[in-house]
Amino acid sequence: MVEKRKIKVLVCKPGLNGHDRGAKVLARALRDAGMEVIYTGIHQTPEDIVNTVIQEDPDAVMLSMLSGAHNALCPLIMEKLKEQGIDDVLVAVGGIIPDEDKPFLEKHGLKGFHGPGTELKTIVEFVKNNLKR
């Protein structure tokens, strides 16, 4: 009998912001929900993230952004993933994402947008329901 493969998630902190309380709490909640979780740590450039995706082949990438750099960095990450032919990975961004920025980010293929006060189980369910493979 083949054991069902665990959902593999990469939790990332792109950019210079070092406030990773949310990212760490989320990483732990996903792990407690039975997923395999890798936390990249802080200060990840788009290249760093794409390289880790290539190496680890996760089902989902969760970006935690609080600094306001999301409009600059998230589309860049999506472009670089596309360049590598990676299109079957769920990429979500959460943190402080103003409503008015969401359509722009959605256009680039980003999902999620979970903000402060979101229950962890909501995000766990979101990951389970939005996988692309």
Partner: protein, 544 residues
């Protein structure tokens, strides 16, 4: 409801809302406190008068009867010019001190033009690359008259150098300057993560600034030993208290090792605490902090001057407690937190703006933050007597309890070999990660209620106006930087940076060399990059 029913519900009953009542540190709170809870209490030894050892009741004898705490709103965004205008706005509305928030690229010592700064320039603080930006930031503000706090850590020595030279250009000498650099790298490794170099060279730079300021900038607070970020990263109140003071001991020990006299440098150390939701827990934290510090400085480090034992601190209300849901409710949270800080005897205070779970504060939100303090100061009467909560069975019991729990942490840190070995063993990081996860679970299980978040929710669209940072800020900043690089004496800068590197290899104080480089308009990025060549950089293993 009939009258009889109503009487039934009002009748005192043994049944309580919860089985156990616990504060944010997990300390169980009893129904009633009595003299039995503080039976070993000794007024003179445990409290004493305000302004006297062990300072439990307050750092100064008359506290706010002399003057109110400094109202110091942390502000910075966009370009130096934009932030200069916000400072003038706050000063016009009665703010009494400045507090600079720097852009992330400045905090990490890289230029606005660096590709790692993409999307970050001016977003979370004011973008500073060279002395030119600093001159603009304080344009029209007399630096001999105002005190300025700068939230800067790894590159703190460089920003201090820029401040000194900016003041000099205004015609003021360093001994006239009053202010603080945060300069607290230990809590960066523990919590906030804005480190650059490994711990050992970072500590050297800090002790260099202490040594330099002791001689030349005697009114400057050389470190703001910070619990704020430890708390924001998810620690409990007790952890904030214990880890912050442990960092303080770390700096004292490093300065003593350099051969400095405790009574020369200790009076210029300051602290920075958080003020979170549990009112009494916060008040007791500040009281315990003063007592622990005073005792240690006297008994362990041999301080002789009262000034060296006196813990002074700045407080900021808890950013992490602000909710994105019904943001106006944050005005009430901030008021309670600010009141705890005042009743705990803070020397200066930042009250958060209600919109900060959504964006950097708009002008209106920042003004309400400041007004909150002014109302507490002028209208509530709490500032008319010193330490009004003293003598309460509960408050004294909890102050004792927090001291005892902090002491238990100090023992564990000592067992690990001190603060730096404990950082390298991920001790603090794990303790904080565990505490923050537990807190989040308590919210999700509704053991803790956050109004509007996990109870009493309303669904309404967000109508709070948001402050937007124009993407043009980065372009403008890069243009300014390139212009300065074209105009300055680049040969001289190279010479200065080479000299700085050579000195960094030895043990001489680096401050004079940093000042020389800054004066010629070397950028923070260039100076940090020169030091990286010698010191290397730091990497952590992320634990969650």
């Amino acid at each position: 409801m009939t009258e009889i029913d109503e009487q039934k519900t009002l009748r005192p009953t043994k049944k309580e809302r919860k089985e156990k009542f616990k504060n944010l540190s997990g300390i169980e709170i009893k129904r009633l406190y009595t003299p039995d809870d503080i039976k070993d209490f000794n007024y003179v030894m445990d409290l004493g008068e305000s302004g006297k050892f062990p300072f439990t009741r307050g750092a100064y004898p008359n506290m706010y009867r002399g003057r109110f705490w400094t109202m110091r709103q942390f502000a910075g965004f966009g370009t130096a010019d934009q932030t200069n205008q916000r400072y003038k706005f706050l000063l016009e509305h009665g703010q009494t001190g400045l507090s600079v928030a720097f852009s992330l690229h400045t905090i990490y010592g890289i230029e606005a033009i660096d590709e790692k700064a993409l999307g970050e320039v001016g977003k979370e603080g004011v973008s500073i690359d060279t002395l030119k930006d600093m001159e603009t930031l304080f344009d029209g503000i007399d630096l001999s008259k105002i005190s300025t706090s700068m939230t800067i850590n790894a590159p703190a020595s460089i920003l201090l150098a820029m401040y000194i030279v900016t003041a000099e250009k205004q015609g003021h000498t360093p001994d006239q300057l009053r202010g603080t650099i945060q300069n607290d790298i230990l809590k960066e490794y523990i919590a906030q993560k804005s480190w650059i170099f490994p711990p050992e060279p970072s500590m050297r730079l800090i002790i260099d600034t202490i040594e330099y300021c002791t001689k030349f900038v005697p009114q400057w607070y050389t470190i703001s030993i910070s619990g704020y970020h430890i708390r924001e990263a998810g620690s409990t109140t007790v952890q904030e208290l214990a880890f912050t003071l442990a960092d303080g001991f770390g700096y004292v020990e490093a300065a003593l090792e350099r051969g400095l006299d405790i009574d020369d440098f200790a009076p210029r150390l300051s602290f920075f605490f958080n003020s979170h939701n549990n009112f009494f827990e916060e008040v007791c934290k500040y009281r315990a902090a003063r007592r622990i510090w005073a005792k240690r400085m006297k008994n362990k480090y041999g301080a002789k001057e009262l000034e060296s034992m006196r813990l002074r601190f700045h407080t900021q209300t808890a950013g992490v407690s602000l909710t994105a849901q019904e943001p106006e409710n944050n005005i009430v949270r901030v008021t309670l937190q600010a009141l705890a800080a005042v009743l705990g005897g803070t020397q200066s205070l930042h009250t958060n703006s209600f919109d900060e779970a959504l964006c950097l504060p708009t002008e209106k939100a920042a003004k309400i933050g400041l007004r909150t303090q002014q109302i507490i100061a002028n209208e509530s009467g709490v500032a008319d007597t010193v330490d009004p909560l003293a003598g309460s069975y509960y408050v004294e019991w909890l102050t004792n309890k927090m001291e005892a729990e902090a002491e238990a942490y100090f023992e564990r840190i000592d067992e690990l070999g001190g603060v730096i070995p404990a950082i390298k063993a991920n001790f603090f990081q794990k303790e904080i990660a565990n505490a923050s996860y537990k807190y989040q679970q308590e919210i999700e299980n509704r053991e803790r209620i956050i109004v509007g978040v996990n109870d009493l929710q309303v669904r309404e669209p967000c109508t709070t106006p948001l402050l937007k940072i124009d993407e043009k800020v980065a372009e403008e900043q890069i243009e300014k930087l390139l212009k300065i690089k074209a105009e300055r004496n680049n040969e001289k800068i190279e010479e200065n940076l080479n000299r700085l590197k050579e000195t960094a290899k030895g043990s001489e104080n680096l401050m004079p060399y940093i000042i020389d480089a800054v004066r010629e308009y070397a950028s923070i990025g260039e100076i940090i990059s020169a030091l990286k060549d010698v010191f290397g950089t730091y990497h952590e293993d992320s634990v969650f």
